[in-house]
């Protein structure tokens, strides 16, 4: 599983970066989204992989860290997801505004 996930992270990141380096704004926003998937999974993987052991306690019990998935990376990913969403929205609007004002969808605001 680790290998598959690692490859998956790599592919998402690679595709994202490829798009980030493209000249069209829409490519960049898709790239950013892909990159953020990769990064979220990467953060998540820092807690190592656990199947069937979600960080949710039985009511009234003191948890045992050895038995459940590390909750911290999950909390971090949650924050990252939210921020990533916000940034996608922001960049989208900026790219729309740029498209409207410059008449091109090139990232530099002019065809080069």
């Amino acid at each position: 599983m680790e290998m598959v996930l690692a490859i998956g992270i790599g592919i998402f990141a690679g595709s994202g970066v490829w798009l980030l380096l493209r000249p069209r704004t829409y490519q960049v926003i898709v790239g950013l989204a892909l990159l953020s998937y990769a990064v979220n999974l990467f953060i998540f993987s820092m807690g190592r992989l656990r199947v069937d052991s979600p960080p949710i306690l039985k009511p009234g019990s003191v948890g045992d860290a050895a038995l459940i998935a590390d909750p911290i990376p999950q909390a971090l990913v949650l924050t990252a997801i939210v921020i990533g969403f916000a940034m996608t929205a922001l960049f989208l609007v900026v790219l729309l505004a740029a498209r409207g004002r410059t008449g091109t969808d090139h990232v530099d605001g002019r065809e080069s």
Partner: protein, 968 residues
């Protein structure tokens, strides 16, 4: 008041006056003049008092705390040398003020002029009075700055601007070199204190840093004192008003360099390096200056070059390294200041009275200006070194030193010849100044009819010429004592024997003087015809114009090269920048592996791979690569594929025990899809491919490079992730959370307890981000201007409306009504369902997957569904959605919940929970964290809805504007 504080007064009075003058009204010529004059006179008086009151041979001191940790105390130090220079500064300063009062037009904003002048005076005084080398540099740079303002005083004139800029550039550059030189001296000596430096001559001369320090300091002094090849700024500084020229180029600015060389002479002179750096420079300056002066057509230009020449002479004498030469240098500095100031003022009067300074136009002025003419002749004679005048005395001393033996080198031996030649030149240009201007036929076509100026305008010249005569005739009585004092403070208490008398008998120097006088007259005769022809500039080196070269070099280096370099080393385009950031990140991230060696996989047992998971990721990979492939031409396809990739990562979260992440990711996924679609409306069809056939090789190469970078990033991240995942988890802080989530955080969903309690502050920041983005989106869309092609309603709508219109029985809009008839009904009824679901997600969040964020997004999806089903107008007619309120209240709720703990004396965000026992219902959890989460919920609803709705509103706006256009 102690003597030290008197020094402080001497230094600060001009600055205070300068500040005061700024606030004077523009036309307050007299007030400003009186202010400036009064200050100068006061300072002179204080200096005079100090001369008599202070004990001889012991400097007057003042030390104030400034930056002791950096070895920079505010130190003032007045010894004989400083006194002599200070008197020159303030004495001539007084006369210049008086002169300027009459010279400057009444329409001129004179207070500004006097303000700059006073500040400059103060800075000069600061240079000579500094008892700390860094402090000296401090004032040194100030003189550059204020001289810039003075030279550029008539800044509406191009020449003034250029002259000022050149002077500043050259002298400030030198100043920076001097600064570093001073720092080196400080390192050698271990102190910047002048006393300590002056006591460390051997240490300095033997240090390995002596050479760089000396070179740097000399660069500073040479540029300031206009030594060849840095002399070119000085003639161009003549664009300044004449009082400024008279002041800057006689007693002050240019003498700062001389002063510093004399100041450091005891500790730095006496080496071969000193001799061979300074003497040739001084000699070249002396000759080039004098030679150029002969051929000047501008009166002030002639004086400027003669100044250069005299500065070269002084420098040369300092460079010789003998105490006698030094005394001669000090003496000549003084003499030059006196006669040159008077000559500049005389030139100023001529200019003022005739309206021109062009020697070719001037002639026979003696008739109109007999008095001024006489004064100018005496001063010029002094400049030429005619006996009975002060210039003669110091020049004799110079000749004597030229003849004396210093190093025995060829240069040393040839000095008498060069000195005589310079003498010849100086006689020639002095003659030219007098004969061409005052004698000959009366000038015609002068811009103004000349008259003798106001008496008080002439008075400074009279006084200075009188001093020339007095010194020239009775040197010992007049300057003997101050000169000796000054010399003692440099050379030491024991001065070599020297005599200040007019007659030393028939000797070699006298012969040289005679040769110079006769030679000068002959040369003038020979050159008369040539000079009368009106050619500008000296022959042989006419093409070698320092200013032109300087401008060209400066423009080339500071503009063309800089731009080329900026272009080569930087970019204004996004892609190269992005490439660099990403590539550098990869390099940086991998560098530790290169340095420390590779890291293998860890020994954590791998998790068995279910085939479904492998299949899932095959799909994920296909989606990821597909999205990357399609994003250019098939935006919608890319969007859909992106959704697929998101779904895969969401399922991965579920598979790997992160239900909260899965829930959140799914919801965000949905909103993002809607969001991007809302945006796609405003992205018109892509323009045709830039490269319809095959892209050029450069583009292909860039693509391959990008591909390489992308692969590198992917591989690195894969590698890192794999390396980490196969390593056992370290003892982590999460243990603390796991153990306390329920007992102290009151929730079983550890992730949620972390988010709202343990690390609630992160969440708070996160919702602020969301809030900010929503506000930004809102603000940006308020001014949104869609692209040309997308202003119209979309083609589909036009097609459908046209169809409805064309059919006799249909009305426009019927298609969309029918289209949404049933979906709308279902979506309408889903609103309370989704709302209920949101509440459910919210309520269970603390114990099970869910929480404020997920609930907020859910509710906002509920809103969006209504917008999609019924349209913006309809929804806003029926529901009052006030996103900004939601956001504000949400943020405040979270903040105030956190602050609630203050009430109980705990830090911000300290949570409180307990179970409340209610009748019938039983135990109900009442955690402050829930309230905090409520704030999160409200903010998320507000922000998400605001973003989506702001985008959705654009459609309304565009139809509105389309309608408005039709109406026109």
């Amino acid at each position: 008041m102690s003597d030290g504080f008197l020094l402080l007064v001497v230094l600060t009075l001009p600055f205070a006056g300068s500040l005061l003058a700024v606030f004077l009204p523009t036309n307050a010529r007299n007030t400003a003049g009186i202010l400036a004059g009064g200050i100068s006179v006061t300072c002179c008086a204080i200096l005079a008092w100090l001369y008599f009151a202070a004990p001889a041979g012991v400097p007057v001191w003042l030390r104030l705390d400034w930056l002791p940790m950096l070895g920079l105390d505010f130190t003032l130090r007045l010894d004989g040398l400083a006194w002599l220079f200070a008197v020159l500064i303030y004495g001539i300063g007084t006369l210049v003020v008086l002169y300027a009062r009459y010279y400057m037009s009444s329409e001129d904003p004179v207070p500004r002029f006097f303000s700059f002048l006073l500040a400059f005076t103060g800075s000069m005084a600061g240079v000579v009075l500094s008892g700390n080398l860094i402090q000296l540099v401090f004032f040194w740079e100030l003189t550059s700055l204020f001289s810039f303002l003075l030279i550029g005083y008539w800044h509406h004139n191009n020449t003034a601007r250029d002259g000022a800029r050149m002077a500043l550039t050259v002298t400030a550059t030198g100043g920076l070199c001097l600064f570093v030189g001073a720092l080196l001296i400080g390192r050698i000596v271990g102190s910047y204190d002048l006393d300590e430096i002056l006591n460390s001559g051997d240490l300095i001369r033997e240090s390995s840093l002596y050479a760089p320090a000396l070179v740097l300091i000399l660069l500073g002094t040479f540029t300031k004192s206009a030594q060849f090849p840095f002399h070119f700024w000085l003639p161009h500084a003549m664009a300044a008003p004449t009082p400024v020229s008279a002041y800057l180029h006689s007693a002050t600015m240019v003498k700062a360099g001389i002063f510093l060389m004399i100041r450091l002479w005891p500790v730095m002179a006496g080496t071969d390096l000193w001799f061979y750096l300074i003497v040739p420079t001084g000699l070249l300056t002396l000759l080039v200056g004098a030679y150029s002066a002969i051929f000047q057509q501008d009166l002030k230009g002639l004086l400027a070059y003669s100044t250069i020449s005299h500065l070269g002479l002084i420098t040369l004498m300092i460079g010789l390294g003998s105490p006698l030469a030094l005394i001669a240098a000090i003496f000549h500095t003084m003499n030059h200041a006196i006669f040159k100031a008077s000559l500049f003022m005389a030139a100023g009067i001529i200019d003022h009275e005739t309206g021109t300074r062009d020697i070719r136009k001037l002639s026979g002025l003696y008739r109109a200006l007999p008095y001024t003419g006489t004064l100018a002749m005496v001063a010029a004679a002094s400049m030429a070194g005619v006996p009975l005048l002060n210039g003669f005395l110091s020049k004799e001393m110079f000749f004597a030193e030229a003849v004396a033996d210093h190093t025995g080198s060829l240069l040393d031996d040839s000095l008498p010849y060069w000195a005589t030649l310079a003498g010849v030149f100086s006689v020639t240009y002095s003659l030219r100044f007098i004969l061409n201007v005052f004698f000959g036929p009366p000038a015609k076509d002068l811009p103004r009819e000349p008259h003798e100026p106001a008496h008080w305008m002439r008075f400074p010249i009279e006084l200075l010429v009188l001093i020339c005569l007095l010194i020239g005739i009775v040197p010992n009585l007049t300057v003997g004592s101050p000169l000796r004092n000054a010399a003692r403070s440099v050379v030491g208490p024991e001065l070599p024997p020297f005599s200040l008398s007019i007659w030393h008998g028939f000797n070699l120097p006298l012969l040289m003087s005679v040769i110079a006088l006769c030679g000068g007259i002959i040369l003038y005769m020979l050159l008369r015809r040539y000079l009368a022809s009106g050619v500008e500039g000296p022959p042989l080196v006419r093409e070698l114009k320092g200013q032109r070269i300087f401008e060209k070099v400066l423009a080339t280096i500071s503009w063309q090269w800089a731009r080329a370099l900026e272009h080569a080393l930087g970019t204004r385009r996004l892609q190269p920048q992005m490439r660099l950031v990403v590539a550098l990140a990869v390099v940086a991230g991998l560098s530790p592996f290169y340095v420390r060696g590779m890291v293998g996989t860890g020994d954590l047992a791998g998790t068995p791979l279910p085939p479904g998971f492998a299949l899932l990721w095959a799909i994920g990979i296909a989606c990821g690569i597909g999205a990357a492939y399609q994003a250019k031409y098939h935006r919608l396809a890319a969007l859909v594929l992106l959704g697929g990739a998101g779904l895969v990562s969401c399922i991965t979260f579920v598979w790997l025990s992160a239900p909260d992440l899965a829930v959140t990711q799914l919801l965000v996924e949905i909103v993002t899809t809607v969001l991007l679609l809302l945006g796609l409306r405003w992205l018109p069809q892509r323009i045709e491919d830039v490269y319809p056939t095959r892209p050029p090789p450069s583009v292909l190469f860039r693509r391959y490079a990008d591909l390489a970078i992308a692969v590198a990033v992917g591989a690195s991240l894969s590698f890192l992730a794999y390396a980490m995942m196969t390593r056992p988890l370290p003892t982590s802080v999460s243990r603390f959370f796991v153990e306390r989530a329920y007992t102290e955080g009151g929730g079983t969903n550890i992730v949620n307890v972390i988010l709202v309690d343990f690390r609630g502050f992160d969440t708070m920041g996160e919702i602020v981000v969301l809030c900010l983005v929503a506000l930004t989106v809102f603000a940006l869309l308020r001014r949104f201007r869609p692209a040309e092609e997308s202003i119209e309603t979309p083609a589909q709508q036009r097609y459908q409306d046209a169809f409805d219109d064309a059919e006799p029985d249909r009305a426009p809009g019927e298609t969309i009504r029918d289209y949404l008839l049933i979906p709308r009904l279902i979506m309408l009824w889903l609103f309370p369902v989704i709302g209920t679901f949101a509440v459910y997600l919210f309520m269970r969040g603390h114990d099970l997957p869910g929480g404020g964020f997920a609930a907020g997004i859910t509710l906002s999806i509920g809103f969006v569904v209504q917008y999609m089903a019924s349209g913006t107008r309809w929804v806003e007619d029926h529901l009052r959605v006030l996103p900004l309120r939601w956001m504000g209240l949400g943020l405040l709720t979270s903040a105030f919940t956190g602050m609630g703990s203050w009430w109980f004396g705990y830090p911000f965000l300290t949570s409180h929970f307990q179970y409340v026992e209610l009748p019938v219902i039983g135990k109900v959890p009442a955690a402050s964290a829930l309230l905090f989460d409520l704030g999160v919920f409200a903010l998320v609803v507000g922000a998400t809805v605001l973003i989506l709705i702001a985008l959705a509103h654009q459609s309304l706006r565009s139809t509105r504007s389309a309608r408005a256009m039709e109406g026109e």
